[in-house]
Subunit: 445 residues, 2 copies
């Protein structure tokens, strides 16, 4: 048995870069890597006969067996669905094992704070791309601006999982599903809240995809961001008590949101009820069912009248490209509008062989120094290499891997349930990410 041992729980597609990174680290340091999954073949494939790696069956629903494995290791990185993290956390407390995730800290996770601290353990969450790299790159700049005596006035931050310019061609949305399609379809339901001009601001779901913020990413053109659910919590998390404007959002290529807004306005993203008897229904039947009946008007005209958009405009082109006007069978017997929309969109929006993804992060800071106002932007763009080594897998997995290494090297002092917003995280992690090709560039604008 090696003296130090790491478990990666979950060996799905998103684990590729993390496991590759850890294989190198473990080889170099003579550590052991366990890769566990409910599909042991997926775990075995990722281990690639490395001497330091071992694939095993890891089933969190079988607590006894999962606990036995966790007891063998010093640190667990969970790539399981976020709702399973509290189960792992409980086992990690019992086994006195550190825990890392790329997920938001849930209330259930937060409850382990004191126990983890008492046991000298770190439960590090939000250490992927978004959340993760966004926290670290923002805090590095915020601390730097503070140190030089600047006063921060505004902080806007956007991130998104998109497709690379190569893959964008002929795709008018410049978008495909590179992550959970369901999360994309459901995004933004509820009311978003942020701070502007020192006031709390609210954006309703029907307004969300209209009230977008334009963003230019050097070398990659025009983007637009729509607000995330709750930006206001970052005032405290980032220590920005005096900030006038604070907005976090999701990034899409320019033009995406006004077309997506058609789905929102018509009710096609509603997940609260089921449409039935769809055996003979086509894509265009689905679309028409959300429009008023009028034999004398074309579908385009009805959408255009309803939503005040151009009958021959870009929104209509995007709907047409995605097959909404097609007489193709849907291929579902029943489903919520959101489920049916997702099913139809997947026919065109699924990543194909040869497609490459891309992640983009964009921060914009406005600050005052010596009575003058400045604007600083910070951007990260990472393109995927292929379908396996995706930008998403890299930018989510590498921060986790680097953090794991730092913790096991005793270079991190924090204990309890934490997120990476302090210097001991962002300095070494961002520096190593840069050596791995994930670079953040800053620019005064």
């Amino acid at each position: 048995m090696k003296n130090i041992s790491i478990l990666v729980a979950g060996a799905g597609r998103s684990s590729y870069s993390l496991i590759n990174y850890l294989l190198k680290v473990c080889t170099e340091k003579n550590w052991e890597l366990l890769v566990g999954d409910i599909a042991i073949e997926a775990a075995a494939e990722k281990c690639k006969d490395h001497a330091c790696a071992r694939a095993l069956l890891f089933d969190i629903s079988n607590k006894q067996s999962a606990s036995k494995i966790v007891h063998e290791v010093d640190l667990v990185i969970s790539l399981l669905p976020a709702n399973l993290h509290p189960l792992i956390a409980e086992i990690c407390i019992e086994a006195r094992t550190h825990l890392l995730t790329a997920s938001y800290v849930s209330n259930d996770m937060q409850q382990y704070h004191e126990e983890a601290e008492k046991n000298n353990l770190i439960f590090l969450n939000e250490c992927g791309f978004d959340p993760g790299i966004d926290h670290m790159s923002a805090m590095e700049i915020i601390h730097k601006l503070r140190a030089e005596g600047s006063e921060l006035i505004s902080f806007e931050s956007f991130a998104g999982g998109l497709i690379s310019p190569d893959t964008e061609k002929d795709n008018p949305w410049k978008y495909k599903f590179t992550w959970s399609p369901r999360n994309v379809v459901m995004a933004g339901q509820g009311t978003a809240r942020y701070i502007h001009g020192g006031k709390l601001k609210f954006i309703s779901y029907p307004q969300l995809f209209k009230r977008v913020t334009g963003v230019t990413v050097p070398g990659y053109g025009e983007f637009e961001g729509y607000a995330n659910r709750d930006s206001t919590i970052y005032k405290e998390l980032y220590g920005l008590n005096e900030i006038h404007t604070l907005l976090r959002g999701t990034l899409r290529k320019a033009g995406f949101c006004s077309a997506w807004n058609v789905f929102v306005q018509l009710g096609m993203t509603d997940d609260s009820w089921k449409m039935k008897n769809l055996d003979n229904a086509t894509h265009v039947d689905f679309l028409k069912s959300f429009l008023a009946f009028d034999d004398n008007l074309s579908i385009e005209k009805k959408i255009s009248d309803n939503l005040g958009i151009n009958e021959n405009g870009e929104e209509m082109e995007k709907l047409r490209w995605s097959g909404l006007f097609d007489n193709t069978m849907i291929g579902l017997k029943e489903g919520s509008p959101a489920e049916i929309l997702q099913h139809i969109l997947l026919k065109k929006w699924n990543m194909q062989s040869g497609d490459k993804d891309m992640v983009v992060m964009y921060h914009r800071f406005v600050y005052k120094k010596d009575g003058k106002e400045y604007t600083l932007q910070s951007t990260l763009v990472s393109e995927g290499e292929n379908e396996v080594s995706t930008a998403m897998a890299k930018t989510v997995g590498l921060p986790l891997g680097i953090a794991a290494k730092l913790i096991l090297e005793n270079k991190i002092q924090a204990r309890g349930v934490v997120i990476p917003v302090t210097e001991e995280f962002y300095t070494p992690i961002l520096a190593e990410l840069q050596t791995l090709g994930i670079c953040i560039s800053e620019k005064q604008i």
Copy 2:
């Protein structure tokens, strides 16, 4: 003890006309009327020292005492909140007592069908105004058209609780809260479904107040109807299997919906989250929190840009009249947007002394006879006399009262959980309503 006895459960404002009607009937027939309420004074006030009437404490949360009272009577009319009806139903089964309500048949109520039938009891629901008179007047016409060999193509039906033309003056909405304010603010959330051109149609909440149907009521001008939650169930309830178009909706004066749509679009009717720390917030602060920040634009311009409405148009006048632009303190510490909106609107939309309400019902039938197409409209308008004898109290209470009389006279054969859609209900009830001044007029258009 009288040989026949009726209990009215709930002696709130809406009970006025029902109790008055029953006092006359009981006096005439030497029946007994019990009026029960958790506030016994309210019950006593309604009984007015009539020899045949007795006020008592009726508290449904005390099952033993409630049951004792129900055991004394032959028939219960429940004006309690709809969610309490299953509790009453259970007691009525035990006490072998008929039950009448003006509420929609809930699943919980439906479950008493077989037991009521087995015990030779009628549990008559949806026997008020809407639902109630709308069912009866629609079925009378549908059966008449069928009998004369017509084929029904389209049926649209709208009803609404409004204010009388006298009370409308200077009120640009031509609307006040005459019934539950909360129900008005929350109305339409979710997706509405109806049938048009033989196809299922869906209207999302953001579209609901845009996709209205215009309606002219002779002598009362222009109205507009927005779709109710689910019109499709009336296909089976009314036996309209071959119908092309079937839509039920809520009626407002023309112009109401496009102004109400501002609240919907901005998220001000959302009840899913709480706004806090409102101690120093004004009406206009509430409005502004839902608008983008821009020092250079007026509030009107921001609303107009967001929603594509005229900056100086009627919608804006309605918002201004309702105090949304005022620097008045809201007067709540916290609340959901819907609760705050209701609180602000109540300041202007509450019925004042001297105000009169009005209820309107409108059916439009399109049918074919001998190869020709005809359109028939059927309207009911009833204005309130004063704040006590309201149109709503009359049109909800009188059908219940008449039905109770018919049942106790053994003129109704139906048993089990039923709604008044058959001839034995609509013929005598509509006839007697006419003698009481509630008249339905038909017109070919």
